[in-house]
Amino acid sequence: MTERAHLAVIGAGPAGLAASVAAAAGGVRVTLLDAAPEAGGQFYRQPAAELRARRPQALHHQWRTWERLREGLRTHVQSGSVRHLTEHHVWCVERNDDGFTVHALLGPEQEEPAEVRADAVLLATGGYEKVLPFPGWTLPGVVTAGGAQAMLKGALAVSGRTAVVAGTGPLLLPVATGLAAAGVDVSALVESASPKSFVRRSRALAAQPGKVAEGAGYAARLLRHRVRLLAGHTIVEAHGTERLEAVTAAALDGAGRVRPGSERRIPCDTLAVGHGMLPHTDLAETLGCGLDGLAVHVDDEQRTDVPGVWAAGETTGIGGAALSLAEGHIAGRSAAARLTGTEPGPGTWAAADRVRTRLRTFFAALDSVYAPPAHWTEQITDDTVVCRCEEVTGGAVREAVAELGAGDPRTVKLLTRAGMGWCQGRMCGPAVAGLAGCGLTPSRRPFARPVPLGVLARAGELDHQ
């Protein structure tokens, strides 16, 4: 065969872009598939082209890195070494005798199929947000923190005039400052981590001067926009009938319980809430890749334990855009070397390797600082809807656990339908696991998104023609 080896990269966020550029530079042919109309992923999500934004960087951080990535992609697309397939929603990657078939659905309609054959696959599928329920979290106006940011960056849209940003994690800072810059009155940033826990981990965090400066930059912006920071606080309820009208925030005690009498009501029409990120691992799991906890297991070269499958970015563990770039670069270099029959030398990605080690340590420290309140399940009342799709309440889940003996999310699902709806448990999974008294485990979904039956019936037919 004279044709160059072909690598399919799934996901055009920081990891997938870095991987595509590195692999193309290393001499392999790359097909980059992504669900969005433009490259960027969630972190570098771009406004729709027709909105003709002259200063999209006003909503972004590390814009110069994005310009370099975009230019790298453009160069390789023009030379023909990278094919960028936008609006391709990948629902399954299938391993065949002689390579892989990537199955996708086209466009926002997601009805028509497309298939891409490749010699190897690189999964850069990113992550999605974890949100823990509380009374009122299903009211219109309550959105995920990442959702508020996606609507702002991609659609230049906000859902109201007065917002509270709440939950835990590093994402809350850019969401609060982004909304404020876009003209929303951000009344408060409610973070459940206490200032004390930051002090306890200060040595590990201070080892990252760049990241500390980034944090200080956000702090200055919060001040400038007069956003009140309520650390060691949590949202106990969202109020409203047809839509959000206010939230109640309360202080947490040392044990992570709501301090009685500390409740305060904050009027707002928007609540952007999130409790951290979870890796998207559906495609990897269907391929048979092993996991470490909730993330795809990879070796030093970002190889999964399935031959021919690499993974990089949040899918291999949550760690932010800079770590995703380093991992993507290493994965792309490794894939290019292996697919062209060469052993990557020890110095092939030394700089990226140092960044990767440093940032993994940093995010492990961050992870121990940012945490939902220890007793968050106590805030789920019996009439709080936990599974948003199937409208299963906290009371129904508790009954399945306490009276019917369910000890894990799967049994709860069989007894209550929690996790059986449209989102396939992505939204309620962490809450159901918490109420069942066990840790969140991977869900093993055979397909990464809903697939029309007709598409499923015809899948693979192209191979047999």
Partner: protein, 100 residues
């Protein structure tokens, strides 16, 4: 109030008209259904199957399926993903979207 469009210096083409349950609302080229509805002050456009409770955007990236809406008679479209075109007819959706 400063708007996100002003913040990034957006210069979209002329606004066009779509309808929400027959009522005319304006949309900009490039806006999704969800963005246009938010801009029109609408935050819910679906009643749930069980309790008929109002829902709109939640995850904003196509994962949660809370923002389902009927567009041009096709039910269960994710409002956060689907772009609008002149003349599109958006309808709020009750239950499964197949009842009416």
């Amino acid at each position: 109030m400063r708007s996100p469009l002003e913040l990034v210096g957006a210069q979209p083409g002329p606004a066009f008209t779509v309808t929400l349950d027959g009522r005319e609302i304006e949309a900009l080229p490039g806006q999704t259904v969800a963005a246009a509805l938010w801009a029109a002050g609408v935050t819910s456009w679906r009643g749930t199957r069980g309790q008929g409770r109002p829902r709109g955007v939640f995850c904003g990236i196509g994962v949660c399926f809370d923002c389902l809406v009927t567009v041009n008679d096709r039910p269960n479209q994710r409002a956060c993903l689907v772009p609008l075109h002149p003349g599109d007819a958006i309808r709020t959706q009750e239950g499964t979207g197949h009842d009416d």
